[in-house]
Symmetry: C2
Subunit: 266 residues, 2 copies
């Protein structure tokens, strides 16, 4: 990513001393700021049924430490039910979402992503806001949705390992990396990669010291108990089993990608 572009967005660096103060301290610190301080980062996170809450919660925690306004955007104001039993209340509709955003963010959750890819109201919204957003970002299968909106043509990108190669059909260059930064597109691998994404994103916008502070505050020194988080680590047996278990929705994803590619004339 172009460091100069990022630096220009990172106007909040002037108050970096308060960045790690924790959500509440932070909110207070912000409230006490003089009105001539730089505006808060405007983030729109698309939320949709069957998305994975963790895809949102990881990045949202870090956006919060970055003192961002995170708008939870849905087609209407109804609560959105993700994979687990915490309904998410939208804070605005797609129609209400500001035209010019700092960050457009799309979480994943394959079952929901496939449905969303076939909904022009959502892909049109993403195509429009994504065309002007300073950063276009995703976690997990969220990148398929960005791709279906035509936002990854000509970009390197990643996704959950089991759909990553489908990105090529949407005009992107798939990369088997945890977080892929290509100009202003920042995409991440499956589910838990949302935390790596968010800290890397914070590093790019706020610098190394702020990102190190966030890691320390969130005690981010992960220790996967089994070391089986990728097909390479898990081996072919377990990988085949996941592919088999998910075969039906993976077939639907392939169809949805083909339809999107046709629509986009890729």
């Amino acid at each position: 990513m172009n460091r100069r572009e990022l630096a220009s967005l990172a106007g909040l660096g002037a108050v970096a001393g308060t960045i790690g103060a924790g959500p509440l301290k932070l909110a207070q610190a912000v409230a006490q700021q003089a009105p001539n301080n730089p505006p808060r980062l405007q983030v729109a996170a698309l939320i949709y049924p069957r998305m994975i809450l963790l895809d949102l919660a990881g990045p949202q925690t870090v956006f919060n430490l970055m003192r961002a306004d995170v708008h939870l955007v849905s087609k209407d104001r109804s609560p959105v039910m993700p994979d687990v039993g915490v309904p998410i209340l939208p804070t605005m509709t797609t129609a209400e979402c500001p035209a010019d955003l700092d960050v457009l963010f799309v979480p994943g959750g394959l079952d929901g992503t496939v449905v969303a890819m076939g909904d022009p109201a959502l892909t049109d919204f993403l195509a429009d806001r994504g065309s002007r957003a300073k950063y276009v970002t995703s976690v997990c299968t969220g990148s398929l949705l960005l791709g279906a909106a035509g936002l990854l043509r000509g970009y390197a990108a990643t996704s959950h390992w089991y759909v990553r190669d489908l990105l090529a059909d949407l005009g992107a260059t798939p990369r088997a990396e945890r977080v892929v930064v290509d100009r202003n597109r920042v995409t991440a691998a499956g589910v838990t990669a949302g935390i790596d994404f968010a800290i890397e994103f914070a590093r790019q916008l706020r610098g190394d010291e702020a990102a190190r502070l966030f890691e320390l505050v969130l005690e981010y020194d992960p220790k996967p108990p089994l070391s089986a988080g990728t097909p390479e680590l898990a081996g072919p047996g377990l990988t085949d089993r996941v592919l088999q278990i998910r075969s039906s929705v993976l077939a639907s994803a392939k169809d949805a990608v083909a339809q999107a590619a046709q629509r986009l004339k890729i």
Copy 2:
């Protein structure tokens, strides 16, 4: 942890073939089961204002893969606002919570934890359910709340690094580990440790293969961008800065621990 105890709880192992099917497939698979299949794991997660959503979302994702019923328990039915802007709707009140649980789970979030430690309605609830729950568990500062309920006396335990030593004042033996298992108490370090906790917990209850499957489905191959997630990794400068930023709430935590210790006659 006693493997035999765990194995006896892990009756769902008979349907291990469906465990990694993903939330939706899983729900369908469960719905299709004959009624004489083993009961679902009953988990009560205490939710309280200013808790950290990520502390809950990580474990909840894995509990969901384990086909657990996760009850979100609060003093009343009002939505609970965590650190970020996703209000959590309780699914039951403390009064409605089943007397006998498989798992009692407490997330953290220091500002909220300190307030909750001073609320007898919450500590009495935890002491009661924790006295009979098969497993008593926490992420981050949630262990202070377990300790304030007298549930960690004589147990090894951990917490967020910046309050870990306070556990000693509540009768526990603090350990600087990512996840600490001592008999039926399973406690985890700060925030992001919730994912390690949940996968280790799944491993103990469902075995290595199921836990490996969960890691693969969640693509849990974390790559912290900065490697600064503990005081040892971050160094004294950054650590002191966090301690200074959080000094006010850390002082309140110390007071709350002292009061709880006095009440518990520790």
